[in-house]
Symmetry: none
Subunit: 223 residues, 4 copies
DNA sequence: CATGAATGAGGCTTCATTCAT
DNA sequence: AATGAATGAAGCCTCATTCAT
């Protein structure tokens, strides 16, 4: 399922003769991500996507059965890639806390590199009622499973406390990450400054999250 | 997905003479929540809401300017009540950690009592692009502010560590809570058993979240 | 092609307050018959029907699920009436040959009075592949059955020869009638002159058909 | 409905080098007949025809200007052959009644041998509004003319009564035949049994039709 | 000849909203 | 206050046809 295709082309309206079948398909997917991110799934017309891709809208229906299938394809292929990356990290041999930091950094950097992808995943897919379709629930479940495995690894290795439910801890960690991303996506928290500032900010946030997750906010010896 | 969409009111098509203006208005709002929870905002027709409320659909426009206003009214009135409750808790004098536990319990119990309300708030309002409208951003902001104030109180009182950014901590806490709610709403995690089991489960989750939030997952003395 | 498309009602854009729900529905059906007769089912746009009926095209969908349902409703209601008339004649006590003459006259007069109805029945319904749907096949079957019963009555009464298969005779009779109607509808045979001429012509044809049907074309004593 | 749409040719996607221009063209026509018979003209996509023929749909436009031309070509070439056969029979020197029997047998056997051809001719060409186009009206007219000539021959030879209008008699004869065919095509009348039974049935029907046509259904000496 | 990617006009249908009663 | 008939803008989708390769 995971077909993580790095489409590296920036679409122009002028036809580029060298493109093959797959590339045109990706062109449409990229355009759809851009438009979905800008207007939302329901607010996006198929013709908007086609215009963004620089093609006739009829062509969309050569590659996708309908508008819905575009969205679910984005989910399958893009989320799939992300999921693989997370699972690779999770399966690593680094200390559990380092792996969690890597996941957090992956998520936050993902947003920085491909904000539209993340925006669509977060707003239109993950939260939509479409999200409740089995295949997609399962995909989210796999993500949670991967992280939970890291937590259990940490507990087994004596790195994490064993008196805490791994599932709850996973919820806490991923929920926090998700909330940060959503806030960034929606612009609740606006970050001023250039790319360097953003990268620095993301790192700070990731480290802050992990610090609390690891050591808690209570004063040492408190509680 | 948990069957959380049962109508909480059984309307009949026969007019009930005793109802006044306000009651009919609420009837529509309740019906809208039920239908939005079931079908989503975009998937809900005005006629669906009217049928659920047992009235003619033209009548909806006596009470609300348009469909959009129904949603924002739900937001204002229902979210408003929730927000006030949270702010009341936040303004209390109990220890910061107790206040956070109360907030968590409030949220989780809210889901248990009125799953449709929470579902609509979470899926259709909070996450929608409407969320980025100033009034509603402000409302979410107020919620974050209230919780952040609790965190700062805890830091000021020496209850919480001061070397952690209060904003990040707030994100972590609310994000975790939000994620749990979303998972419950979408049925990622299914809870078997009767109402007692659910209540117990919610309490366990709330306490687990707080425990990590306070003391971290790392082994004492570890790191 | 015979001018068979005169609207049976002259719609105006001004609403006629006296019309009730049923009348508006019939207005649409009548308009549809006119338009289907003129342009064929596939060539008729829903907006054409609405314009012919003097209403907004959206209103069509208050009364009918879709375009297809308009056609099948025409079939059910109009063909149903015709079928009843034929069955009434068939169940009569007149000599079989008189009853057959009455059927022929009914059919031919029906064409004269409501050419559009007949045209749609003949061209768009009876012959279409839609015709092969069970309900409609059965309806045509009922027509054949009614006529076949008359033939059998005639045989039982000693009026008709018993050495001929009643089914084949029915085919012959109805087929001939049908072919005449189709030719008239399609204008293969054009009839000059006024209404009197048409009526006279139809009578001639009906009597000619019956004469052959009864006595054959072979010279007396021939064969 | 009788399953009469089995492809009579099994095309493969692999090119067959031996085929020349004409063969590929016929391949398309045969495929079109199969598809038109199955789905009707309007319900048949050009791509359906191409798939049935085992070629790319673009190639259809090398052989035919458009979809419409495919249908009219079928009409011209297939109906043309049938028309010639009928005219040959009609021009013969056999007794008129024998010639009519031959025509009836030709038609009924044609259906038996090439049900799809007849189905398309009957349903899509003859009855369509296309039928009212001059060239095609003329073709049907020629058929009627040929049969009418036989009837007149019979009258001139003293074989048929002269007091009956030859046109009406022709309508009766061809209409009956047509109706039988249509019923067979649409499956109103289902014939059980093997090929032998069908052939026998067709012969019976043809003879029955002719018997009535010649001698009438009225009891000898009756009327 | 052959392919099938590309085009875009055209039509059906939905549904929020208005309005006469 | 209540009804639901009426309106029509908007958008999805189909599919015949063209065209570059």
């Amino acid at each position: 399922m995971p077909r993580s295709s790095e489409s590296t082309q920036q679409q122009t309206a002028t036809p580029e003769p060298g493109r093959g079948r797959t590339e045109k398909r990706d062109l449409i997917l990229d355009a759809a991500i851009t438009v979905f991110a800008r207007q939302g799934y329901h607010g996006a017309r198929v013709s908007d996507i086609a215009r963004e891709a620089g093609i006739a809208y009829g062509l969309v229906y050569h590659y996708f059965k309908n508008k819905e299938e575009i969205l679910s394809t984005i989910f399958d292929e893009r989320w799939g890639g992300f999921l693989e990356a997370v699972e690779t990290i999770a399966a690593g041999s680094a200390p559990a806390s380092d792996r969690l930091l890597s996941v957090a950094a992956l998520v936050l950097n993902g947003f920085q590199l491909r904000p539209d992808w993340v925006k669509v995943l977060v707003l239109e897919i993950q939260r939509s009622s479409r999200f409740s379709e089995p295949a997609q629930l399962r995909a989210v479940g796999r993500l949670l499973d991967a992280v939970e495995r890291v937590v259990r690894d940490g507990q087994a290795a004596g790195e994490f406390r064993s008196d805490i439910d791994a599932g709850v801890a996973t919820y806490l960690f991923m929920g926090a990450l998700d909330f940060v991303i959503t806030s960034l996506v929606l612009g609740v928290k606006r970050i001023e400054g250039g790319e360097q500032d953003q990268r620095a900010y993301h790192l700070t946030v990731a480290q802050g999250l992990l610090e609390i997750f690891l050591n808690g906010i209570a004063k040492e010896g408190g509680d």
